[in-house]
Amino acid sequence: MLKEFRQSLLVSIWFVFLTFPLMVVRVNTTESIVEWRWMSLVWVAVASFFLSYLWRYMLARQQAKKKVEEEGVQQLSKAQLLLEDMTFRYKAMGVLLAFSLVFPWIFDTYQSTIMISALIYVVLGLGLNISVGLAGLLDLGYVAFFAVGAYSYALINHHFDFGFWACLPVGGVLGCLFGVILGFPILRLRGDYLAIVTLGFGMIIKVVLENWNEFSFGPSGIANIDRPGLFGIDMNIDGSTTYIYYIMVAMVVFTILITMRLRNSRIGRAWIALREDEIACVAMGIDMARTKLSAYALGAFWAGMVGVLFAAKTTFINPASFTFMESAIILSIVVLGGMGSILGVILGAFILILLPEYLRAFSEYRMLAFGAAMVLMMIFRPQGIISNIRQKYEYKGLKEEADNG
């Protein structure tokens, strides 16, 4: 404690020295006098001391925690213990589901629209979580699959007049297909190289969409895409938004269910093993090519599906919606939420999408706050909001063990 105190004191003196000409001395050129603002000196000293102390305190706390973990004791926070409790889990899920069902009736259309985009990112995050979080294949061009889905619906709807429900699976399958197409050339790559190639793939899709006018109508995009239909009933915008909202909720539930089952299956274990150690994984008899391709294809599938919904929601798409920034946000959702954790990714998506939305009042500072939050998060909780919890299996020996011990 004393060490931290002394260091913080030094930091604050240093800051006072550095900012002295800026904060204290002010030359009034019209009256030719020098103002000495000693009060601001005090503020700088106090603020820098406080921040530095807090910083050091948090770092020390984290170090201590790490030490405990290295000694083999698995430290679980209270929240995680609560999550382990199955009855609590079911109750919480029930409440959340009920809340999400009445949501559009409590709040106005604006809120529903925001919630739809948050839910879209939840699905995107869960999809990317398969390739990045589970299989450990860093993908910086994930938005390309999203674009594939959106454009497949927009183009099919424009040329052939097929409806939303017919195109939803088509978008998913096309996303899948592109996942495999991208997957083949990068089977041998890993780490940084993989990231660069996927980044390139994301760029290629966007450039193609921007420049191939005959196919994609270029930067002007495609307008007047049909909203999802419900047995041919005419809906106004409010009704349609509510309808899309419900489709989105259903899709999120569907995605969670399937990704959860996949994660805890034989396939999911192979993905995680691939993430942990590629060579050992292959030596244990797992087909690397097949495992990687399936991870890519299944990750891309969700992006394709939700892309169709995105096109139907906005009724207008152009290549500007599918920039690298989107890929980066989706990746941040996965990293911030906790790699491989489904609940973490959902929380991450809500935080990253809803927070900037509700911080519009401070719109000038929101990207600044956003960036600072990310930096702090990575320093103090690098494993994400929810860290990796493994499934516990039931086996015959378990009961005897409990009896003996």
């Binding site: 299956s265 034989r266 274990r269 942990e276 050992a280 994984c281 292959v282 244990m284 493994r390 015959k396």
Partner: protein
Amino acid sequence: MADKHKLLEVKGLTMDFGGLRAVDSVSLEVHEGEIAALIGPNGAGKTTFFNCVTGIYTPTKGDILLHPKGLATRRLNGLKPNKVTEMGLARTFQNIRLFPDMTVLENVMIGRHCRTKSGIFRSIIRSRGVREEEQQIVEDSYQLLVKVGLGEFANEFSKNLPYGAQRRLEIARAMATDPFLLLLDEPAAGMNPQETAELDQLICKISEEDRIAILLIEHDMKLVMNISNPIYVMEYGKKIAEGSPQEIKDNPKVIEAYLGEETDA
């Protein structure tokens, strides 16, 4: 000894890395029920030899033939590592390569992967067959953990295990692939004498109870001389001797190359 079934036959295996010949026409045989050992000074090419046999490298020259009992002979050259494992040849690594963020049980369950077959769609639907297969994987894996003495650690993260236990977990994981030949790359490295003695027993147990032939690389002479027969000696990529422990101890070439330092001391 001669009438025993030959499982692995390596003929004139050569591996070049650019201009460097890491393994130079090495021949070796492993028979049913044997615990064979491959020894030699550091950098002799033992691990490279293992990597060639298990498919991580494709050898420059030579043949690696596998004669599974009751099945046709297969040539392993250039096969992918997972195919080699599927054929019944499992390995461990010199520098431990577990899956650190998976539980001990899951590490072993990964080994069962190539012997089970639930696909993506069946896993999503989670039909009864899939659930039963899953439970079978769990039970089999747990039995293997008990066998290597790690039953109580089943739900720990594998990175939290002590070093010796991690080595035994690697063996359990390799055994989960149902091999008939197990390749152990320095299983006793970094172990204390007591742990080495336990490992000694474990290897003998695997050999006797499960009828799995073993080929091991080891530096711990006591362990090698205790349990293995025959022993193959490599130096600078070449095989310089083979024979029973006694023959190896008396072989002047081996003493010069490898044990020589011990007689000096």
